[in-house]
């Protein structure tokens, strides 16, 4: 793309264009940071929330479900505000934090489902990374659709049956860790409460 062609921002995010991402940080992060720090947050939370907002948008772009009716900037800041509100709700629930009314963004975004999916993904990956190396390796081989005989050889196991059993046990361990995590239950409940609790901006 030549420098004078108008920039297709969405496509650049899809391509994970580093220069574009840096420009987005330069333009929008100060505003997001200001909002979060003015609303009971700190700089580290601002960093995390801003990254989550970009990831959420990136995942929507990848799935071709992104529909921006206003402008990218207002959409991004809207996502930041939404994610921060969800975080404040959690803080209030667990730590009894007093949260002053946060400025809501009037607009056209409805992010609850995307938010729940992203949080579930984070949780799953978090527990995946907590598995031992053997489990991660065998699940990786399985996910890459490696033939079982080759997996057996790579893992140094005695038989293909043993490999399959190990894979099932590792996957079951991951499943239980996620399923039993209270955060997972919260996320399941989020969608159930959607109609009564979450503002539809």
């Amino acid at each position: 793309m030549n420098p004078y062609e108008q920039y297709n921002l969405i496509d650049s995010i899809r391509k994970e264009d580093r220069a574009v991402l840096l420009e987005i940080y330069k333009i929008y992060f100060p505003q997001a940071r200001h909002f979060i720090m003015e609303n009971s947050g700190n700089i580290f939370e601002a960093e995390d929330v801003f990254q989550d907002a970009l990831v959420l948008i990136y995942l929507k772009i990848k799935k071709n479900t992104l529909s921006i009716k206003s402008s990218f900037g207002s959409y991004l800041i809207g996502v930041v505000k939404f994610l921060w509100l969800k975080e404040l709700e959690r803080k209030r629930k667990y730590f009894g934090t007093t949260v002053e009314d946060v400025e809501l963004l009037p607009g056209d975004i409805d992010l609850l489902e995307d938010y729940v999916k992203m949080e579930k993904r984070k949780l799953i990956l978090e527990h995946y990374n907590e598995l031992n190396e053997e489990c991660r390796k065998i699940l990786d081989l399985h996910n890459k659709e490696t033939p079982i005989s080759i997996s057996t050889s790579i893992m140094g196991y005695a038989s293909d049956q043993y490999t399959m059993n190990r894979k099932s046990k590792c996957k079951s361990r991951l499943f239980k860790a996620v399923w039993n995590n209270p955060r997972f239950k919260e996320l399941k409940d989020e969608l159930n409460q959607q109609d009564t609790k979450v503002p539809r901006w």
């Binding site: 004078y4 108008q6 330069k26 992060f29 990254q51 207002s74 996910n143 996957k171």
Partner: protein, 255 residues
């Protein structure tokens, strides 16, 4: 048999006909089993996908780079005029800030007709545009560069010709279309300016959109189409763009 074993057997296609029938019936009446199945199914897909992980790593690197920038480059308010090309940014943002400040003064402080507001705005725009040196532009695209040079000198007619030639070769060039729209405004060809800005707004989103919408609203102010101008200004306010404040003031004046 616990649910994980059943789910695994179901997904592996190893259930007998009776087991399968029973499992499907259970799915109908047990929402938790449905959720367990969903989670179990999603594990492979999520763990296998490295997109998010890779993107997060890239964002962390970008943020580290962002933190290393001098403060003045990271503390700016988010001007909508900013585009991804820094060289363009310098001229447009400087101009826009001074323009909007003076426009705010003329619109919010003084009671003036639509035309008066617009004319003063246009004068302000042309006199405050930051001139850029030829060397600031990258090699190539000389025509667009030349067009901008003509534009900054106030030669809007010739500048417009250059932008039109750029557009004849690259109709998707929104920078050329945007500047051409501004030229039309100076040349009092508001319908053409409106066409340019409206076309930009139909294209995939870019940073030029917010500017195009703002100047489109001003075109409608200028031609006394207050209803359309108000609707656009309202959109700008709702968009929460960096023009929101001034749009609010203009809107109040039009009421």
């Amino acid at each position: 048999m616990n649910s994980i074993s059943r789910i695994q057997k179901y997904l592996d296609g190893k259930m007998s006909e009776n087991e399968l029938k029973e499992f499907r019936e259970d799915l109908q009446k047990d929402p938790e089993l449905v959720q367990e199945l969903d989670l179990y199914r999603s594990l492979d897909r999520i763990v296998a996908s490295r997109d998010e992980e890779r993107f997060r790593k890239k964002l962390s690197q970008v943020y580290a780079e962002f933190k290393e920038l001098p403060a003045e480059k990271t503390e700016k308010a988010p001007p909508s005029a900013r585009k991804l090309n820094k060289k363009w940014l310098v001229a447009v943002s400087a101009t826009l800030i001074s323009t909007l400040s003076l426009l705010f003064y003329f619109v919010a402080v003084k009671k003036e007709s639509n035309q008066a507001i617009f004319e003063k705005y246009m004068v302000t725009y042309s006199t405050n545009l930051t001139l850029r040196s030829h060397a600031q532009f990258e090699a190539g695209k000389k025509r667009l560069e030349y067009g901008i040079q003509l534009y900054t000198r106030g030669n809007y007619s010739d500048a417009s010709q250059q932008f039109k030639m750029v557009l004849s070769e690259d109709s998707e060039n929104q920078d050329a279309r945007f500047y051409n729209g501004l030229c039309y405004m100076y040349l009092n060809e508001f319908q053409s300016a409106i066409t340019s800005f409206e076309y930009i707004l139909t294209q995939p989103y870019s940073f030029v959109h917010e500017n195009a919408k703002f100047y489109l609203a001003l075109c409608y102010v200028r031609i006394n189409n207050n209803e359309t101008a108000k609707a656009l200004l309202q959109e700008i306010i709702s968009d929460n763009s960096s023009h929101s404040d001034i749009a609010q003031k203009v809107l109040e004046k039009l009421r």
